[in-house]
């Protein structure tokens, strides 16, 4: 069978924009903000050398999204499915209903194993009746043996997972088009202004009702200086914003225009650290990250986006296990947590010592209100300072920790021994039902059109 994934790279890959980040962006920060260049801290993410933060701190970058944040997302991959049977193949494999998608629509879904556990989460875009693009996480474009976190593993690219279900004689062409495209995300309340000034307001109009702005989870295609772009009204922050797919040929020059404009508007280029904070502080539940909240050992029933990603009325790979869980009644629940310090991997305990669940993500954030930070009851000075920080995160619970009325639930976070007994002193915090930041992403663009 034909292999669609790339071989495991010998060394972590560099994005097309890496050199521009290193040379041009650090100079820009110096010129416009007076920030002395420091070496960019990088980390291997999906076999790419990604910036954790630039010369600005993770906390500064986390805050940028309140105005405008730009992210280099060249590490994520795009796979195009074309042909008469492209729709039915994707609809057979993915839990979301692909058949009822309109042209110009984006849909969030997941790729599951036969056991219903999560391989990847992704966005599907329908470009035409017989033309779909899936946008997948970094490293999910690799098929073959490779070493990650010190162990040798067999990787299978999402495209190869899906291709397994292609029937003989079906007309579907599968192509990884990531090399032709560089994805740049533009998020925050000045995103409309930036796109308008650089590409014109028309690119953000509703393709079916041109008098209106484009809706949430839709995309447009447009030409700019003879190159073809896709812009979607989506993003990993639940704030107003766009994801722009720039042709590789002009990616460096367009990246420079976008970042320079963003810095002029008070924003920053944001690395993986800030991006992690931005997705955890997104809306009232936070956004799960594949590899942290989702993995191949667990199903994702009762995760915040489950209902959006799954249509139980149709068939899909992994459905029988999901159906079985639904029939038996699901108790597990993912919730947002706030704590005085980082608690990743710790057990969550009620104040009377009952184990409630496990923390899957936790990062310090400058975006938690003073009122919420004070609710922790921490002695830590930074937590209670006017412009202080607290850690925010996501945790899986055995069952919903909330009663009839959803209120803050104070908890302790303990380290645990091999038998899952709590040890040491607890970190204080609470389970937070109303989130850190309101989700502005689905709200009308007209609210930010005149900023």
């Amino acid at each position: 069978m034909k292999k669609f994934g790339f071989d495991f790279p010998e060394n972590p890959r560099n994005t097309i924009l890496m050199e521009t980040e290193e040379k041009w962006y650090l100079n820009l920060l110096k010129e416009k903000r007076g920030i002395e260049p420091k070496p960019i801290k990088r980390s291997n993410f999906g076999q790419y050398n990604m910036a954790v933060n630039y010369s600005t701190s993770v906390l500064e970058e986390s805050k940028a999204v309140n105005d405008i944040a730009i992210y280099n997302i060249d590490h994520m991959a795009q796979v195009e499915f074309t042909g008469k049977d492209a729709c039915s193949l994707l609809n057979r494999v993915l839990p979301a209903n692909i058949e009822n998608m309109k042209i110009g629509q984006c849909k969030y879904s997941v790729l599951l194993t036969e056991k219903g556990t999560v391989i990847d989460d992704l966005i599907v875009m329908r470009r035409d009746e017989e033309d779909f693009v899936i946008v997948i996480n970094a490293g999910h474009d690799i098929t073959g043996k490779g070493e990650e976190h010190g162990e040798t593993k067999e990787f299978i690219a999402d495209a190869d997972h899906i291709a397994k279900y292609k029937k003989d004689g079906e007309d579907v062409k599968i192509e990884d088009i990531s090399d032709q495209i560089v994805k740049i995300d533009i998020q925050g309340r000045f995103s409309f202004k930036l796109v308008k000034e650089l590409y014109g307001e028309s690119v953000m109009k509703n393709r079916n009702k041109p008098a209106k702005n484009m809706g949430y989870f839709t995309f447009n295609e447009f030409d700019y200086e003879n190159e073809h772009y896709i812009i979607s009204r989506t993003g990993y922050t639940s704030r107003w914003g766009f994801e722009l797919y720039v042709p590789q040929k002009v990616a460096v020059e367009q990246f420079k225009r976008i970042v320079e404009k963003a810095v002029d508007l008070g924003g920053l280029l944001v690395g993986l650290g800030g991006r992690d904070e931005n997705r955890t502080s997104a809306g009232n539940v936070g956004l799960p990250l594949n590899g942290s909240e989702y993995d191949q050992q667990h199903t994702f029933t009762n995760a915040p986006l489950f209902a959006a990603a799954v249509d139980m009325e149709k068939d899909f790979v992994g459905k029988s296990e999901i159906q079985k869980e639904l029939d038996e009644g699901i108790k597990k629940q993912m919730c947002l947590i706030i704590s005085e310090g980082i608690v990743v991997g710790r057990g969550v305990y009620s104040l009377d010592g009952k184990r409630l669940g496990t923390v899957t993500s936790s990062i310090n954030s400058p975006n938690v209100s003073l009122e919420k930070r004070q609710f922790i009851g921490s002695k830590r000075k930074l937590v209670n300072a006017e412009d202080g920080t607290a850690a925010i995160g996501l945790a899986w619970f055995y069952e919903s920790p909330y009663g009839e009325v959803k209120t803050n639930v104070p908890v302790h976070f303990f380290k645990e021994d091999a038998e899952k007994n709590p040890k040491g002193k607890p970190v204080l915090g609470f389970i937070c039902p109303d989130g850190i930041m309101p989700a502005t992403a689905p709200k009308p663009l007209k609210k930010i059109a005149n900023l």
């Binding site: 954790v52 933060n53 993770v58 906390l59 650290g273 992690d276 310090g341 310090n364 930074l382 920080t389």
Partner: protein
Amino acid sequence: MVRDDLKYTQTHEWVKIDGDTAIIGITDYAQQEMGDIVYVELPEVDDEAVKGESFGSVEAVKAVEDINSPISGTISEINEALEDEPELVNKSAYDEGWLIKIKDFNDEEVNNLLDSEAYKKLIAES
């Protein structure tokens, strides 16, 4: 930056011997790797420090790391300035950003720690 007059561990702590007191902190390399430090959790004075076991933790924006004691002994002083200014560890890992002082330690444990050359080699390889 690695100082010649200090001893080091594989886990990036440093030890400075000052008479009958051992001063302990994390290395400049460690603070750089962690990024902006937002909180330092320290033990109480008179607690026992046990070689290789955690006596506290240093928390950055993205991660929290346990700090292991390079040697065994009794904790005689903690750096209380870090409560208000945890960033001293970033600014001055070897001076103002020290973490704890230990008394009643065993000289041989100190002698067995890495010297600056060995530590330089360790970070060059990591």
